[in-house]
Each structure stands twice: as C-alpha cells, then as structure tokens.
C-alpha cells in the first residue's frame, strides 16, 4: 500500500464492522459535496475542476444508506434526505442538530473507524422526526419511495404553512397533528381501499341462501 494512501483506505483502529469504510469513502465523497460551500472550492479533490454538482446532491444515494446499517444516526440522516429531498444543512435543522458540521464530524469519525455515539438528548428530535416521516412515507406509498412524502411535506395548509416549514422550525408537534388523520384514520389512507395480500389461509365463503343452480340437460353440451 502506498505511504500516501488516503486515510479512508486505512481506517484507524479498523474493526470488522468498519473494514469497508474505505470502500464507502468514495460514496461519502459524492454525498459530501452538499456540505461544501459553493464558493469555498477544493472541498472535493476528486471532482474535476469543471464538474458541477447539481441540486440532485440533496438526494441520498441508496448505496450510502445501505452501507450505514451499523451507524443508525447517519443512516437516519440519509433516509430523511431521501424522503424530504433536503440538503444536509436543512436535515440538521429539522432534526434539531446544531448544523451540517456536526453531521460532517460524525461522518468523519465513522469513516476513520471511530465510534459515533451521540448523546441520546442530542438525537432525540432526529429519531422523532425520522419515525414521523417514515410513518407518513409508509402510509402514502411505502418507505422505499419518496415522491409522495416529499410532496406531502410541501403541501401547505389553509394558513399557507407546510409541514416542511414546521419541521425546519422545530414544530414537530404540528407536523404530528397534521399526520394524525393520515396515520390513525384508516379511511384516510391514500392507499387503495383494497389490498391484494398473499393469503396465509384460504377463506371459505359462508353459506347463504342462493338462487337455484341451473340443471343441465344433454342438449346443454356440445
């Protein structure tokens, strides 16, 4: 291995669970672009100088999410980015965290094999928002899809306020109230009123009085 190898290739104190940190480093680099100050420059040395990140950087890479299975807070952040289509800065605001720099710090620690153990109080709102948005996503079309929940949080109420605005200003209670009908009233679900589920048992029709069945004669058949 080269003496000048990237630190992400040789995680400090690497453990089995962190052994692939180097491999996902490249994915981090892509996602990390949305941390960068557009005027700062040089934040991502692997990008050619004429490369430009598009707003799509606010959409999480599913591979990044999959590789964060043992870093639940970071995974939750990436899932919120997917569902809400937000930048890291805005996800941090919605989650009640101090800012994108804190997320960057966690990611740096994870990348270098150091434990990421935020205080419970620090991530309390993150998990509350994550549970709420996930529940809405699942009620609308399934947690693996983000289109409906992304629209739902941007749908203004009569007062012109969107759930997203409430999330970004820490008013999680308000979002929870708006989601209550969707989550708790089964008749309000947008999912179709019928479901085709794999049957665990074969139902039998209860016997009822029915009109007589036709009686067949030879002439009924050809």
């Amino acid at each position: 291995m080269s003496a000048t190898a990237d630190i992400t290739s040789t995680p400090v104190g690497a453990t089995a669970s962190r052994a692939y940190a180097g491999a996902i480093g490249r994915l981090y680099d892509g996602a990390a672009a949305s941390f960068a100050n557009p005027t700062a420059g040089g934040s991502n040395q692997r990008l050619p100088s004429d490369a430009r990140r598009t707003p799509a950087a606010t959409v999480a890479d599913p591979e990044v999410i999959a590789d964060l299975a043992d870093a639940p807070e970071l995974r939750a952040i990436e899932e919120l980015r997917t569902w809400l289509h937000l930048s890291y800065e805005d996800v941090a605001r919605a989650a009640g965290l101090s800012g994108a720099s804190l997320l960057h710090h966690w990611r740096q620690r994870y990348r270098t094999g150091s434990p990421v153990r935020p205080r419970a109080a620090t991530v309390e709102q993150l998990w509350r928002v994550h549970a709420l948005v996930r529940a809405v996503a699942e009620a609308l079309e399934g947690a693996d899809q983000s289109y409906a929940v992304s629209l739902w949080v941007r749908d203004a109420d009569d007062a012109g306020v969107t759930p997203l605005e409430q999330l970004l200003t820490g008013r999680v209670d308000g979002v929870q109230r708006r989601a209550r009908k969707l989550l708790l009233d089964s008749s309000a679900h947008s999912s179709p009123p019928w479901r085709v589920a794999g049957l665990e048992h074969d139902d039998e029709l209860a016997a009822v009085e029915t009109p007589p069945a036709p009686t067949y004669q030879d002439s009924d058949f050809a």
Binding site: W194, A206, Y216, D218, D220
Partner: protein, 186 residues
Amino acid sequence: MSDGGDEPPAWSLQAGIEPQAWPQTARDATAGLRQGALVVSPPFIYAASADHAIHAVTRAWAASPSSQSGAVNVVSAEGRPPYGLIVTQTCDLVEEGKPKRPWVQIAPVYLLFANSGDRTKIQQGRGFDYLVPITGLTPPEGALWVADLRVLIPAEKGWLVGRETLAAFDDEAGYDRLAQQLGHRF
C-alpha cells in the same frame, strides 16, 4: 436423420400465426377494447375427464353423450356465465402493428351471493384473491358481481366480432386493481 417419409410433422403454434391471413374484422373487433372489458355470454369450455369429473358442471357433462369429446362445452345460455371479463393485457389485446397473439383470455363473471362480511372482504381484497368485484354492474341485494380468476377461457379474437361489450369497472381504480390482482396471481 429422417428420410422425410414417415416422420410426423412437428406441431407448432407459431407456424399458424400468419398475420397476413387475419381477417380485418377480427382486428377491428379488439380496437376499442381494453383489459377489463366485459363481453356478454362468453364461452365456457374446458378439457375434462368424464371418469374423474370434479365440478358440478363437469359431472353433468360426464353423464351426457358429449363427454366422449373430452372437452366440456356448455352451449346453453342458462348454463354459462352471463358475462366474461377480458383479462388479456390491453397491448396484447389490441396489438398495434403486426399481430401475433390470436387469443384472448376470458374469466367468467357471475352473481355471487354471500353474506355482508364476505362481500366486504372481497371488495376490500381481504381474502378471496381469485375474485374481482365488478363495479360496472349493479348487483341485487345480498349479491356481488364478481369475475372468477380460477378459470380463464381462451377465445380467438375473431369470436369477439359483433359481440356486445361493456365496461367492467366504474372508475380507473377498478382497472388498476384488476391488473395488480392478475399480476399477483399469475
């Protein structure tokens, strides 16, 4: 290798497709149809064994002279379902361009008398995944119009010429449900 004298011919479905031989009437008959169309008085035909008859219709057929044929073919209108639901996908049904699918599949549609709980189950898709509620027809009290996916009858598209058809569902959700239910079942 055979000398070409006594070898039986290889049966092929493909060899008989012959798109140029299709009557235009048969092509026109499907032009305005879609998956989920109802056709009045569909055929009710299936292969069976008179010695091992299962369904009541098969048992009645087994006792008739027609059982020699090995195929149950109910010809009386009263002995057949009043409607059939075309379950063939619309693209295969209409076939833009050179046609290559001569047949459509038709599920029998009939009035199912059931208690309120079972009717609700069927309407909501909880159980009875082989039954599709037909919302375009108005049932009498205590019954539900259903298409039964347990048997699909093939009909050559020419059979559709001049047949009376109507919509099986009163909204797009019904067609979506049919497509998903078929996808789930087959």
